[in-house]
């Protein structure tokens, strides 16, 4: 009986959590797309969307409605099962990672003791979806995008993991709430500045944002892996990209910026402020830098980032041993 009650409570918790996550993801993506358009516009001396709602605030809702109304074009000769699956595969892991993100001390769906590992594991699945999309589309540009994406993500996953390891060494737990609690006296960005820089670079690459947006390099590969997708299928890729941006920023906020910690304001507000500040940083990169070349990108990862991240890990371990 106890077990059943427990399961019932857990089940309700899960369903409520999932609905909350889906709502958050949609609203967040709508907001981020609007934010990106406004940020880019103001960096480029133009006002951006102004017509729909206050300063174009509901412009993205109009765009979403338009995308829903679009015909879903399936080109001939595509590998149908994989082609249909790819947008779903890209989106599901993104949803799952929200399970463990601590928005505040209490606002967390399931505080698992493998939290950070779960996030990293699921966000890796994005590569699989991109590969599926690129391969199944039966388009040379898509295949190029997919190949680049795989090479890029494998290259940048390693320094990302190693960098995260150096934080985990300091805390001694994979639990995200523990990591935040450990930053009671100071934020980890102060003791691990190199790790923070490495993390931001890798995160930008992981989310395929400029200057590392090679899988969808517009001027080279038209639209890369999602060239052949239209309507809501395209929207799912788009949604996943922006949600991924939120996730890497949320992880960065937890690992380096003290998560929900902050004076006066409630925890969740502080958390969101930190996350959106980091997202703004990533957007700033996009509207400032040109794109790197593919070989330079991979060389940069293997020759600079990976050695640096190992050095950082080693130094962290030494410092922990000595002090």
């Amino acid at each position: 009986m106890d077990l059943l009650t427990h399961l019932g409570i857990e089940g309700v918790r899960m369903i409520v959590g999932l609905i909350a996550v889906i709502a958050l993801v949609s609203v967040n993506a709508l907001f981020l797309i609007w934010m990106e358009r406004k940020v880019s516009a103001h960096m480029q001396l133009r006002p951006g969307p102004m017509e729909v709602g206050w300063h174009g605030a509901i412009q993205t809702i109009a765009d979403a409605v338009k995308l829903m109304g679009k015909e879903l074009i399936t080109p001939e000769e595509v590998d149908r099962p994989i082609y249909y699956l790819a947008p779903i595969v890209v989106f599901l892991p993104v949803l799952l990672t929200f399970l463990v993100i601590p928005f505040s001390q209490t606002m967390i769906i399931k505080d698992m003791n493998v939290g950070i590992v779960l996030i990293l594991a699921f966000s890796t699945l994005t590569v699989l979806a991109i590969l599926m999309a690129g391969w199944a589309s039966n388009n040379k540009y898509s295949v190029f995008g997919a190949i680049r994406s795989v090479a890029q993500n494998i290259a940048y996953e390693i320094p990302l993991l190693v960098t995260v390891m150096s934080i985990i060494l300091m805390v001694g737990s994979f639990k995200l709430t523990d990591i935040v609690t450990a930053q009671g006296r100071y934020w980890f960005i102060l003791v691990q500045p190199l790790a923070f820089i490495l993390y931001i670079i890798c995160a930008t690459a992981e989310t395929n944002r400029t200057p590392f947006d090679l899988p969808e390099a517009e001027s080279e590969l038209v639209a890369g892996f999602h060239t052949e997708y239209s309507g809501m299928r395209f929207a799912l890729f788009f949604l996943a990209e922006y949600t991924n941006m939120f996730i890497v920023s949320a992880v960065a906020a937890v690992l380096f910026l003290g998560g929900w910690r902050g004076p006066i304001l409630p925890g969740v507000v502080w958390f969101l402020i930190k996350v959106y500040a980091l997202i703004f940083l990533i957007m700033w990169f996009r509207w400032t830098f040109p794109r790197v070349r593919f070989d330079q990108l991979v060389t940069f990862a293997w020759k600079i980032l990976i050695p640096l991240s190992f050095v950082n890990l080693l130094l962290t371990a030494l410092a922990l041993k000595i002090f």
């Binding site: 040379k140 200057p211 794109r291 070989d295």
Partner: protein, 370 residues
Amino acid sequence: MITSGIEEKTFVLNLGPQHPSTHGVLRVLLEMDGEYIASAEPVIGYGHRAHEHMAENRNYHQFLPNMGRVDYLHALAFNHGYCMAVEKLIGVTVPERAEFIRVITNELNRITSHLLWFGAYLMDLGAFTPFLYCFDDREHILDLLDRITGSRLTYCFFRFGGVPKDIDDDFISGVRTFIKRLRSRWVDYHNLVTKNVIFIHRAKGVGVFTKEQCQLYGITGPSLRGSGIPYDIRKSEPYSAYPLFDFEIPIGDNGDIYDRYIVRLREMEQSCRIIEQALNKLPNGPIMAEKVPKRLKPAAGEVYQAVETARGEFGTYIVSNGDIKPYRIKLRVPSFSNLSLMVESFKDNLVADVVAILGSIDVVIPEIDR
């Protein structure tokens, strides 16, 4: 997709004609070995409008508006080349003030062309923001030229024997303000792009044109000067009012993308210098030569006149058989020659470099197709 199994090592990637960075309707067939180019073959003609043939079917005046459509980015230079060729044919001398106005508008137009190239090129490299910065600047010139020429892109401003409309004080002060503004912007441009590490790594040592290659293929314009050959029609075969002004021909050292980029930026500054001098020395007088017949019927003969456009040497060759229509007009356009070397230099480069090299040449496809 690679369909025929393990045996086949290369495959063909069709770049264009509808591709975001072919600047129009250029199509390049790339034989690819992975992400590297094994060979490249351009397919041109998608923008072909038979301008040269049209010339044979209309009189000299009627062909003038066509010139703005050949190279729409530096339309005034094409106006200038054609007008000068016809003036040579009928033996008309252009008044000095008209020559000055021609030079001023021409150089303004050159700046718009280079600014557009700057933005479009950075967009090819994946940076979107510079595009809007330089369009903001370009807009000011378009407004100025709009006031006196009546159009913003495909100008048809010059006439045989001069220009139809004089410039006024508003225009002159507008141009002076613009030049001041543009000069203050160089800092932003250099901070945003020229000093950017990613840009330098993308541009230095990529797409090198040697001097020999340039001469072999007949490259002209900033692409040639980037390779270190100071050849500019404005200096080597001075025309119009250019000999009266003091300006330099910027050249590069290595002939790579970076040099071509720097040459163009410095050329804009030189254009500013020319405009300033022309405004200071602007003489008074008529803007149209007297006695230019309404109905041109030049004697039989042939002329050639070259001018320097933003992309290189543009030559007009007119053969007249004494009729009211030209017997033949041949347009020597710079992008056509430039394209042939560009395709050569694609070999053993990455797809990303193809886009970078293509952009660095600054081709205008309708000009190639004519």
